[in-house]
């Protein structure tokens, strides 16, 4: 392989599968690599485990304030910021309000927003949701059980995170699929199935903002035990969130709470179809579920990269990174780093230790929903192993056209039909 063959902007390559051969080459030959970019200055590609940790923890040098999604200047990475958001907090086209999102912030402002919602996602709180999550998972499997076949992505993998995050946020049942559709259109903006027009992501975010405002108005009249009510009353430095700040918070929770776990579960099912011995091993010993969940997280890495921008010149791995350079952190590559994981290309549901970087490599932006994600994944596969152990792939996998999300759009499956007791 030659370095020039690697093109991380070639989205069609990702439709075929994650280009692990490229990442293996990069880790070995160019771990800190300046990737070219048509009509732009290029971007750094980091693929080594310890480099990701260095960069993630040094948020003063590697800032999130200029957006964390999108590699090239021309690329449409979905909901992103170009770094010159309107100081008055007004929407500016597709980037409107992105600079108000905590994903795109550094401390101390990031800390002030993070702590508003942090409490809702502590391990103690999330563990108390297990019964509820299991009930939702059971209902989802009930809804397809008698048919003996379904689209695993849309009917199973997508439903659980959608129902759970919507419940936590306080989105009424009848509105949940609409929110899900908007979230698809934003995150899947480089895939023709979801990007029906160039403006689709912008329209979707505007629609979601309008919806968030309506829900906020309902909660102002009557508070509930949900995150929307928390955010309405939340104060930062003695001031309530502005309507736009509220909207982008809503959008972040809805999208991050849906897309990531859904793609982990879908990708997990595909992975088990590719490794039937591991499915059988797990079915025979469900006490392996916790390590299996961590291995699925390492293996799939639904968010393949996030980006930073340098605030000053910095030397890394013998390379001179200049101020204002774009630096992309490829979690999906670091999670197969030969120096961090023995036999990294083996999928092993018993792997331990397994210190993958799927939830982040340290620093302030570690995943807010990690406890919730683990719970949902563990419960769903636990229920599947008990109720549909013989589940089979019944058609081709259709992957998302994206270099950002490792996603599966459709996965036909079949299983033994079962009567559901009412």
């Amino acid at each position: 392989m030659k370095l020039e063959e690697i093109d991380l902007l070639d989205l069609d390559r990702f439709v075929q599968g994650v280009p692990h051969d490229w990442f293996t080459f990069l880790r070995a030959n160019a771990p800190v690599y300046k990737h070219p970019e048509p009509d732009g200055p290029g971007f750094w590609v980091l693929t080594k485990y310890h480099d990701l940790i260095t960069v993630s923890q040094d948020f003063a040098t590697f800032s999130s304030a200029h957006g964390v999604v999108g590699l090239s200047n021309s690329e449409y990475g979905g909901y992103q910021t170009d770094g010159d958001g309107d100081e008055h907090g007004q929407p500016q086209g597709v980037t409107g309000g992105a600079d108000l999102m905590m994903l795109n912030m550094d401390p101390p402002r990031h800390t002030k927003l993070r702590k508003l919602v942090n409490t809702g996602f502590t391990m103690a709180r999330i563990n108390r949701l297990e019964t509820a999550v299991r009930r939702v998972a059971t209902e989802i499997l009930d809804s397809v059980a008698e048919r003996g076949s379904c689209d695993f992505v849309t009917e199973i993998a997508a439903e659980l995170p959608l129902q759970v995050i919507a419940e936590l946020m306080g989105i009424p049942q009848e509105d949940r699929h609409q929110v899900f559709d908007w979230s698809n259109r934003m995150i899947g903006s480089t895939d023709p199935e979801f990007q029906t027009s160039p403006d689709a992501p912008m329209h979707a975010s505007i629609e979601m903002f309008k919806y968030a405002d309506e829900l906020a108005n309902l909660r102002r009249v009557e508070r509930r035990d949900d995150l929307v009510s928390v955010l309405i009353d939340a104060e930062v430095d003695g001031e309530k969130l502005t309507p736009l700040e509220f909207d982008v918070f809503f959008l972040l929770l809805a999208v991050a709470g849906n897309e990531t776990t859904r793609n982990l579960i879908s990708g997990g099912m595909v992975t088990f179809f590719e490794h039937p011995d591991q499915w059988e091993r797990l079915g025979n010993d469900r006490s392996l579920l916790p390590t299996a969940v961590e291995e699925l997280l390492r293996w799939i890495t639904p968010v393949m990269y996030f980006r930073r921008a340098t605030t000053h010149d910095f030397e890394l791995g013998g390379q001179q990174i200049k101020k204002d350079d774009k630096v992309s952190l490829w979690y999906i590559a670091a999670n197969r780093d030969e120096e961090a994981f023995p036999n990294p290309h083996a999928f092993d549901v018993g792997r331990a230790p397994n210190m993958h970087l799927t939830f982040g490599a340290g620093g302030p932006h570690n995943c807010l929903g990690l406890n919730l994600a683990r719970l949902e994944i563990r419960v769903l596969f636990d229920e599947l192993l008990q109720r549909m152990p013989e589940i089979k792939q019944a058609g081709p996998v259709q992957r998302l056209r994206s270099n950002f999300i490792n996603g599966v759009k459709h996965l036909p499956v079949s299983f033994t039909p079962a009567k559901v007791l009412a």
């Binding site: 800390t111 702590k115 502590t122 230790p353």
Partner: protein, 104 residues
Amino acid sequence: MTDPVKVANVAEVPPGEMLLVDVNGDEVALANVDGTIYAISDQCTHMGGRLSQGLLEGTVVTCPLHAGQFDVATGAVVSEPPDEPLTCYRTEVSDGGEIFVIAR
């Protein structure tokens, strides 16, 4: 030594729970152990996992990232992978239940 910083009210951090607060820009986790409020650096010394999202059992907090454990009263490592202790902060609670942290 700087002045104590008011960060929260005890009602916001019930026994057995933790709360992320900021103390002059430092990310600090409060932990309520049977009514006693402890304050530690929020980031695990191993890889920066947020301890405020971890599990508090007695005085031991488990990091949500890799299950490293610390004693919130002393900052000492209870269980690997971390090998460096946590920064601890002194706390005071007023009669009205306001929690103050002494910034370092």
